[in-house]
């Protein structure tokens, strides 16, 4: 049986851990709110961009931008978004698994990766996957300029004809309790259809310069925006997952403390009983003598 002091020392150490996990939980909750605000802030731009693409697409019907052309091959570049730090539950594992599985199913000929976030990079390098560009240690509110170079690498591969698709995998934020890996095909680009009954602006634009040049400028930005949004949404997922993970850790620490306290009391009681027995039997022995 361990000494009473040792158990008390153990309880103290768990209490310290619990304080830390509790603090991390609170920090994650605050950061989650900020991350959600950042996601919201990109909405107007993204919505507007889609609206303009729809309008321009209806005008320049003859012209097919290379990003809109479907290729038959089985080569792909996957842009994998993960977190930089751990202690956030299973979201990275889920993302990486979803991404690699999707690649193995659909793109058997050549698989290459662009990673945004340290966890994904480390994992893929450990398993000797081909990582052609990476960005890690992104701040909580990254600017698009930080993400852009890595995305450009992927787009250039497509433009050079070195790959047949560019994909994106990130953790989609569904609720605080739920985040799911999401995979999107960035190129060939799919411009969402207008909702039924929703008429586009009937106005015939004057284009400066011609519609093709405008489309050339818009499409890469559309893709970049999707990636940037994914990075922000992944942040929100990260902090949600972290908050839940730390909440569970805090609860688990509490359970452990309760169990150990009970055990410590038993040990102490057992000690007292033994001592009493000794005294009693000692006294009996003395009076018998």
């Amino acid at each position: 049986m361990p000494a009473f002091r040792d158990i008390v020392r153990r309880i103290d150490s768990i209490k310290n851990t619990q304080k830390i996990t509790k603090a991390m939980q609170v920090v994650a909750a605050t950061r989650l709110r900020k991350a959600q605000a950042a996601v919201q802030a990109t909405r107007p731009y993204a919505d507007k961009m889609i609206e303009v693409l729809q309008t321009v697409g209806e005008r320049a019907t003859e012209y097919k931008h290379p990003f809109l052309v479907r290729r038959e091959g089985k080569r792909a570049v996957m842009i994998l978004v993960t977190t930089d730090r751990g202690l956030c539950g299973a979201i990275n594992v889920n993302n990486i698994r979803a991404a690699t599985r999707y690649m193995n199913e659909h793109y058997t000929e050549q698989q290459r990766y662009v990673t945004l976030g340290r966890k994904g990079r480390d994992f893929l390098l450990r398993y000797r996957r081909n990582v052609i560009a990476e960005v890690s240690n992104l701040p909580d509110r990254p600017s698009q300029a930080l993400v852009l170079p890595a995305v450009t690498v992927a787009l250039e591969e497509y433009a050079k004809g070195e790959t047949d698709a560019v994909l994106l995998c990130y953790s989609k934020w569904i609720s605080t309790m739920r985040q799911e890996p999401a995979i999107r095909v960035l190129i060939p680009a799919e411009i969402p259809k207008r909702e039924a009954g929703q008429e586009g602006p009937r106005a015939d634009y004057i284009y400066e310069p011609e519609p093709e040049a405008v489309l050339d400028g818009l499409l890469p930005r559309y893709v970049e925006t999707q990636v940037f949004q994914a990075v922000l949404e992944n942040k929100a997922s990260e902090y949600s997952a972290k908050m839940i993970a730390m909440q569970n850790a805090t609860n688990a620490a509490g359970d452990l403390i309760d169990a150990l306290t009970l055990y410590a009391n038993k040990v102490r009681q057992a000690g007292i009983t033994t001592e009493l027995m000794e005294i009693v039997s000692g006294a009996e022995a003395a009076s018998a003598g």
Partner: protein, 134 residues
Amino acid sequence: MPFSLRVVSVERSLFEGDVDFVVANGADGELGILPRHAPLMTILKPGALKIRHGGNEELLFVGGGFLEVLPDRVTVLADVAEHADEISVQQAEEARRRAQEKLAGTLTASEETEFQNALAMAEARLRLARTRRG
């Protein structure tokens, strides 16, 4: 008769409201938008975006993007955008110096456009900051 204007960048929304007059730096030259302007879609080059509403004038820096004019509203989709008083002269000067150094060396075609663009952005920022300070 004012019209509604919205300026958004990927990171945030910079301006939203009714305005009387907008001047932007289009791909084919500077253009001014007054109410009842014909529908237009243009690429923007790095430069100033001047907004006049009521008696006020606002200055924004737009580092390239798109401008859409519809009968009832105008939208600016900016790659990068800042309010004029957010511009850091020091950073812009550094960026200009870096771009100039790079352009002096030998470059591939895509690097050339990249640094040309960086240079244009830095110069537009500086020009704007200077007019701001009078």
